[in-house]
């Protein structure tokens, strides 16, 4: 497959995904929109397999079959009433996948050549961080909806300080990844960066999600969903996959917009939701 054809196919598939999303926002065409998105995603897999010349690697299909079996079993078995926590769980799993791709890229496994090491390192650690935040945040959301965790907003005494501290550490990890190596004579300690990235992101995701009340969880899940799209896009930047970047960007942006629409229709402000103010009782736990 020539690069030109590949770029053309990527553009066509991105437009198909856009069309699918816009069709899904109308009741009449929603089912067809969903199918269109699904078909274009699977076409994307085929294109990636052929373009990278890896269609003959049989392990890929083995892993995919395992995923398909588990995924379809879950989709068929789940009760309608348990749907929100199911979506949260699936979303978290998607975040995990992005984080793993970021880790692999950071370790230098599984890509042909690195033309821009600085850009690749920075985007890879960002993908890990955003992916892990999505994973842990979604798991907490699913746990709350499934009544495994307390439904009330849990607010620690220094909640904001913990979140800010996490953000500073995460930024430092990214900066370390950027300035290590040739610059400043620092050596890039990849395992240290990864350790900080994963651990602190997990804490951030937990602190972020535990503060939201059970009734506001759907909006949080929508926000985390947008985040997992962004994680995918950043992972795409790390491995220079344009289809991943464009679809991730589309999902990230339209997910954020959907979050705003949901907030408006529930007559709540996003800040109130995220800081754990419920309309029933503002009592901190």
């Amino acid at each position: 497959m020539t690069p030109t054809l590949y770029y053309l196919l990527c553009a066509v598939l991105s437009v198909a995904v856009l069309l699918g999303i816009s069709m899904m926002s109308r009741v009449k065409t929603a089912v067809r929109g969903n199918l269109l998105s699904a078909v274009s995603l699977f076409a994307g897999i085929a294109v990636t397999l052929i373009y990278n010349g890896i269609a003959s690697v049989w392990n890929i299909y083995l892993y995919m079959v395992v995923g398909v079996v588990i995924g379809s079993a879950l989709a068929i078995r789940v009760k309608m009433i348990e749907m929100p926590q199911m979506v949260a769980l699936l979303n978290g799993v998607g975040g995990l996948a992005s984080a793993l791709v970021g880790i692999l890229t950071l370790l230098g496994v599984g890509h042909s050549t690195v033309d821009y090491p600085l850009f690749t390192n920075v985007t890879a650690i960002l993908a890990v961080e955003v992916g892990v935040i999505t994973l842990v945040g979604s798991l907490v959301a699913a746990g709350k909806l499934h009544k495994l965790l307390p439904q009330r907003p849990v607010i620690w005494r220094s909640h904001a300080a913990v979140l800010n501290f996490c953000l500073i550490l995460l930024t430092l990890a990214v900066l370390h990844a950027a300035f290590a190596g040739e610059f400043l004579g620092l050596s890039a300690d990849i395992s240290l960066i990864l350790l900080i990235g994963v651990a602190v992101s997990a804490l951030f995701g937990y602190a972020f999600s535990i503060r939201v009340g059970g009734a506001d969880m759907p909006i949080t899940i929508s926000l985390l969903n947008s985040l997992s799209g962004v994680a995918g896009a950043i992972a795409g930047m790390a491995i220079s996959d344009i289809l991943l970047v464009s679809v991730g960007g589309i999902v990230g942006a339209s997910g954020l917009f959907l979050t705003q629409i949901m907030c408006r229709s529930m007559n709540r402000s996003l800040i109130d939701i995220l800081t754990g103010k419920t309309s029933v009782s503002g009592k901190p736990a």
Binding site: Y63, V78, D241, V245, G249, I261
Partner: protein, 105 residues
């Protein structure tokens, strides 16, 4: 690929994605969210590429790591995609039935 180009693609996709959604009826909020969740499993492409290219790795250690972590990534992403689209389809089918029953009665 040039980083500037990649960031440009991201910016354009973000802009278009933000504009594509207009007034969504509240009935469709959850299915749309679930559908987009399935789409965010697009990271599967990255996982597939990582596993496929790690086969050509020179060091034995890289191959093993690529297979374990990459395999886990493929399983997770496929789970997200298949489960997500399946769940969305079931939700949308439910609306269909409701509407038809409503018309018949």
């Amino acid at each position: 690929m040039n980083p500037v180009l990649l960031i440009l693609i991201f910016a354009v996709a973000t802009g278009v994605g933000y504009m594509i959604i207009r007034n969504v009826p509240s009935l469709l909020h959850t299915p749309l969210m679930s559908g987009m969740n399935a789409l965010s499993g697009i990271t599967l492409l990255g996982a597939v590429a990582a596993v496929g290219l790690s086969v050509a790795a020179i060091r034995q250690q890289d191959l093993l790591l690529g297979q374990i972590l990459g395999g886990l990534a493929i399983i997770a992403a496929t789970l997200n995609v298949v489960g997500g689209f399946g769940v969305t389809h079931r939700m949308l089918k439910m609306f269909d039935k409701k509407k038809r029953e409503g018309k018949e009665s």
